[in-house]
């Protein structure tokens, strides 16, 4: 059915019905509707169309939404956002050698290398070279221990923490004394996390404080904030996934912190950013 463009009167009436006219125009149209039968007929037609359209669109809302569509949206991964975490202390002096300094450095290393080579050549009964060249990757790194601790305890819902959430004062005193890191227990309820207690463990021989949180939205996922005074392996903030476990770390002048959670936790960097500001 061809549609002719609305007349000027129809346009005025339509805008009047929507309250999109000025004060004077509204009075004019009200007067027109009182005195002009044709205007009233047009008004009735517009109202009929409005009623019919409303009914039709309301009915559309009753159609069921495909379950697959709902699931796809609910399970869609959230994008990872760049989060600014505190950086470790930086040296105020930049290393920028001049040309002659670089040349002198090269010559020095050449002489050192030559000297060491001469010493090994002259003394074949020295230490076993193969032992010196053994790959360092055999050593578990500090973060592996942090992840292992998390994976061990997140599966122990009844024995997650040594001191439960009610003993905050005990936790503060105990972990501060043993790790040497002054801290606060961050309130992460805005991120849907409830504090669940704390533990003291060792990671690569260093005491490590662990604060456990549980998701309060029913999933029951465990997220841990860990901290140690020294940072044996870490020189900078990292985000990584190891053994289905996600971790985000940052350093301050006094300590190294790592937030650990399931790899499905898309908001771990957000949690880390909040914890960094609160701990």
């Amino acid at each position: 059915m061809p549609v002719s463009p609305p007349s000027f009167l129809q346009l005025r009436l339509s805008a009047h019905n929507d309250g999109e006219t000025g004060e004077q125009e509204r009075h004019d149209i009200d007067a027109l509707l009182v005195n002009d039968p044709q205007a009233r007929a047009q008004q009735d037609s517009l109202k009929r169309g409005t009623e019919a359209g409303r009914r039709f669109f309301e009915d559309l809302l009753k159609e069921p939404v495909p379950l697959e569509m709902v699931r796809t949206i609910k399970n869609a991964p959230l994008p990872r956002r760049a989060v600014r975490l505190p950086n470790g202390p930086r040296s105020p002096v930049a290393f920028r050698p001049s040309g002659p300094q670089a040349l002198a450095g090269c010559l020095l290393f050449l002489a050192l290398g030559g000297g060491i080579g001469y010493m090994f050549g002259a003394n074949p009964a020295g230490p076993d070279i193969s032992a010196l060249a053994a790959p360092a990757s055999d050593e578990r790194d500090w973060l592996d221990d942090v992840v292992a601790t998390y994976r061990l305890y997140e599966r122990q819902p009844k024995h997650l923490a040594e001191i439960g959430p009610d003993g905050k004062a005990d936790i503060l005193e105990w972990l501060t004394t043993n790790t040497g890191v002054g801290f606060r227990i961050p309130d992460l309820s805005e991120s849907g996390l409830t504090f669940a207690g704390a533990r003291l463990v060792a990671a690569k021989g260093h005491p490590l404080g662990v604060l456990f949180y549980k998701r309060s939205d029913g999933d029951g996922d465990v997220v841990a904030i860990t901290f140690a005074k020294s940072s044996p392996d870490l020189g900078k903030s990292i985000e990584d996934i190891r053994s289905d476990t996600a971790l985000v770390s940052w350093n301050t002048a006094l300590a190294t912190y790592v937030v650990v959670g399931p790899s499905s936790a898309a908001d771990l960097d957000d949690i880390a950013a909040k914890a960094a500001g609160l701990i």
Partner: protein
């Protein structure tokens, strides 16, 4: 839902809005399956761009605008691929249009009616969502009402 906080999960808002998103998509797309594809595409984009949503105004406004521009992009792409469109596909779309009064309305009328009359956007907001001048929106909304009134008369006559 209109004013989500920064920490709210946009996926929850999208699921709650799905019936309305599908309804708006139906006024833009050529068929119901195409409308559902459009909704999926827009939801995916909204999740990926959720950091752009600052929680100001109605989230529906942002999503409807995105849907309109996504549909326009898809339409341009389809035009360039029109050569490979089959006659069977065109025939099935035509049949669907016949059975659905919204799809049978001239382009732009149904979406104008939905935004202005049903979703409650004023002329300025609705014309911004549709990317058209305010006067053109007012004209389409009026034409849609007249068309729907005529459709109602036609249906009543057919029943009689």
């Amino acid at each position: 839902m209109s004013q989500p906080t920064a920490i709210s999960d946009i996926r929850r808002d999208l699921v709650a809005l799905l019936p309305r998103l599908r309804r708006f998509a139906l006024t833009l797309a050529a068929s119901a399956p195409e409308a559902d594809d459009l909704v999926r595409e827009v939801c995916n984009r909204a999740i990926q761009k959720s950091h752009h949503w600052k929680g100001e105004g109605r989230i529906e406004s942002w999503l409807f605008s995105m849907m309109r521009s996504t549909c326009a992009d898809a339409r341009k792409k389809r035009k360039s691929e029109a050569a490979i469109d089959t006659a069977r596909g065109t025939a099935s779309i035509e049949a669907e249009k016949q059975s659905n009064p919204i799809l049978s309305m001239p382009e732009g009328l149904a979406s104008a009616f939905l935004l202005g009359e049903v979703e409650g956007f004023n002329y300025k907001e609705a014309s911004a969502i549709l990317g058209i001048p305010r006067d053109l929106f007012a004209s389409r909304l009026c034409a849609a009402r007249l068309r729907l009134a005529a459709l109602g008369v036609e249906t009543a006559e057919r029943r009689a």
